[in-house]
């Protein structure tokens, strides 16, 4: 068994309320910081004057619809200008997006390691799925489990999906490396059993660079490996906020927008 991650230690030490609401607090914090950073980046990467003019003109065309409402040709022309003005505004507003999308996606991918899934609980059964390159090698795949983990059912082979699955259970909290043996080679998969908010990687992959960057938190499987992926079925996390259960990304979307609109007013930035 490897040592717990520092985050695990920290979160385990936090008082009860914060521990219980830690994911929500983290989302709020990340949203506020990202919202602030976004408006600052927006300020320096966008054409503020052009955005100001584009927005003003949109407002003018909206007012024209009201002011000249009895003149049908004028109203129709104004609608046309609203549409083209919206396109112009979107073009201007998306330019800053090009600058931030990559770092933001990478950041979200990293935060998703912590907030996307709930770690396994001690005594809770979970599935470990291994996908192989071809169905013939399924019979060659075996597991080496640390002493704290046990299998609760025989392995299930699904040749049509090149998949083999085990039902496992952990006796107590901790980070465990499960060893998958195939063609005489061993490939490990980190499995986290915890009640905190540790870093979790649901899958280890061979190749598939972007998916590895965005979803996996572990090194790639060797290219020569007969195994394509090793997956642990962590439950997806939902955060209760405002009488609703949220996926953290949707909550982040809403809160970062609120933060962005707040900071843009404070800093006088045009968005």
């Amino acid at each position: 068994m490897s040592s717990p991650l520092p985050t695990y230690a920290f979160f385990s030490a936090t008082p009860g309320f914060f521990r219980a609401n830690l994911p929500l607090l983290l989302v709020v914090l990340v949203s506020a910081v990202i919202g602030l950073l976004m408006v600052v980046v927006f300020r320096y990467t966008s054409d503020q004057k052009a955005i100001h003019v584009a927005k003003d003109q949109l407002k003018a065309h909206l007012l024209a619809v009201r002011l000249f409402q009895d003149q049908i040709p004028v109203v129709l022309a104004s609608y046309g200008r609203i549409l083209s003005g919206t396109g112009r505004y979107l073009k201007l507003a998306f330019k800053p997006l090009l600058y931030v999308i990559l770092p933001l996606v990478l950041l979200i991918a990293q935060v998703d390691r912590y907030l996307g899934y709930v770690p396994l609980a001690a005594g809770e059964a979970f599935l470990l799925k291994v996908h192989t390159a071809n169905p013939d090698s399924l019979n060659e795949v075996t597991l080496q489990l640390p002493p704290e983990l046990t299998t609760t059912a025989p392995a299930v082979h699904v040749p049509s999906d090149n998949e083999i699955a085990w039902r496992l259970m952990a006796a107590k909290d901790g980070d465990y490396d499960i060893e998958v043996i195939a063609d005489g080679q061993g490939f490990s998969k980190r499995t986290v059993v915890s009640s905190g908010v540790p870093r979790v990687s649901p899958v280890r992959l061979r190749g598939r660079f972007w998916e590895r960057v965005l979803v996996s938190g572990e090194p790639a499987l060797p290219d020569s490996s007969p195994i394509q992926s090793i997956e642990v079925s962590y439950p997806a996390r939902s955060i209760h906020f405002a009488w609703l259960d949220w996926n953290w990304i949707w909550l982040f979307f809403v809160l970062s927008l609120v933060a962005g609109f707040f900071f843009k007013s404070v800093l006088g930035i045009e968005i």
């Binding site: 976004m38 949109l58 009201r66 002011l67 507003a93 998306f94 972007w210 962005g260 006088g268």
Partner: protein
Amino acid sequence: MKQREPRFARGSRLLMLLLAVCVLVLAFPVRSEAYAGPGAGFAFLSSFWTLFVAFLYSAYAFVTWPFRHLFRWLRRRKAYGKAQIKRAVILGFDGMDPDLAERFMAEGRLPNLAQLRDHGTFRKLRTTYPPISPVAWSTFMTGVNPGKHNIYDFLARDLNSYLPFLSSAEISAPKRSVKIGKYTIPFGKARVKGMRRGTPFWHWLGKAGIFCSVIRVPVTFPPEKFPGVLLSGMCVPDLKGSQGTFCFCTTRSHGDKFREGGVRVPIERRGAVYHTYIPGPDDPLQAGSGSELRVKFEIRPDTAKKQARINVDSEAFTLKVGEYSEWIPVKFKAGLGISAHGICRFYLKEASPEVEVYVTPVNIDPGRPDLAVSHPVTYSIYLAKLFGSYATLGLAEDTWALNEGVLDDQAFLTQCYSNHDDRERMLFDALEKTRQGLCACVFDTTDRVQHMFWRYLEDDHPAARGVPRDQRPQVIQELYRRMDDLIGRVRKQIDDDTLLLVVSDHGFKSFARCLNLNAWLHQNGYLTLKDGKSESGDWFEDVDWSRTRAYTMGLNGLYLNLAGRERFGTVQPGEEAVALKEELRSKLNGLVDPSSGKVGITGVFDCDTTYAGPYVDNAPDLTIGYGDGFRASWDSVMGKVTGQIFEDNLKAWSGDHCIDPRLVPGVLFSNRKIAEEKPAIVDVAPTILKLFGLGLPAYLDGKPWMVGMKVAAETTRP
């Protein structure tokens, strides 16, 4: 050697790279990259909101359309049933002079006006008594003489104090306020009461279902409700409530107080940064204390580059010497959340060794008006959003700053034509929006430029002595050429069903000699000064009213000190008053300037025979018609009594029209034949009403013209 890539090439390559990354990311959608971040959210939400509002309004318009259409159809059928025209476009060129127009047409400078003359109409347009813009434009819009619309000058006088007040509008404090110690907390906005009476003809048109766009016609402040859109013109105040008070910030410690129209503000140097302020309106929380609100700003001159960086509120901008800023929003904060929003432009006059910055009068912000300057109030906002901020002040061209030498000729012209360009944009937008109905727009540039540059048109104007003839700029010629060009562009926008009228409220003449009528009244025993005084300060400071029988203030008015009317009146109404008027008329009419032998006054008009209507009592008892080359002196206008009756006018304000109305008719051009040989400005309103098939109210003084319905192709398509 490796050549350095241009910056924009590297920038666009980076952009392309980022775009490619985005495409790649979005091409492999998995969990976390499905979300594009707040940036996309901002863009999405903002644009979605716009479309959502537009959609909602569309839905509302769609649902109500049959009813509105039916209602409109019924009204329009009635309105246009007897109409002879589909649309009337009236271009008001304030002060365009028929003699100059004729001269420039003969010289081939004005091809578009010449085509209107040759194939449509060109006439001299009889103006009002007196021929002053607020008077003439009030008559233009109401179709009545001043006795019925109550405007006789820019200024009227308080019968109790003999002090002047603005004749067109009265601005007072909010109705309700609470006084706590020395503080007064106002509730609500300042109250504005229009003083012009009579009904503008676009109100009649609007009621009949004919849409009207009216832009910057003088004396339309406060804007009155009617079914159409209107942007107020001349007489809109600045944020201080004046008709235009510029601010001149300077490190020079000396300098005379400006006679009028501006204030000198010191600049204080602290290290490399210069600090100064813009004076604003009176502090509403300390009403009556004379305490004013201010907006501070910083100037950081760059001597080497002959420029300066200016920081005001949250705005920062750099100006080169001789350059204007854009319209900059400023906010005067009084506390308790009370503030006044304005806009102004900065002009860097000097950056080294002294620092001097001219700031235009602080205009009411059209995009966020604290006082409505349009009807509906959203119209000024609409124009501000569409074209950016623009001048709202009635007299937006700062003639005082040029008069006082704060601005030079070029800086003044730049300001004029900047305002003019804004006005053109508004006009063309109104033309596009008003396919049927009335589109009326008044341009002030013609008036202001002629006032200030007439000196270059004459050989021997006192204000241009010393300027060699070959170095005199052809400013007025260029002005007329620009206006002609504008007409050409307007003609491209109109069809044969459109009546085009180009009108001016008066013409122009030289203002070379000042005539101080108060001095004449004093020297001839009609006005008496307090014992020991040989002259009087502004607004009759040293006049002994108990021994005064007549006085003058404003541009053309002469008043009797009438018992029972004026507080210290001495002249009995009836026979004595009639006799005094006759005596003054006979003495003043034909008054000769001894230095040249020219006649300084060519007509004196009695109010009893000149005006008719319910407001005749407010009229000057006599209206003075100055001769060509003369005008009321600057001192006389301000109720000052000096020793000299005649003197040279040395100010840049060198042309004028506040003289004998018979000498300064306006112009009337049209794309149609107009039979009337001697049209008058009072006829415009009834003519338009008649052309749109409306009945004429009985009280109108004007008579409708016979307008030909056939339009020569040359007059609509240049």
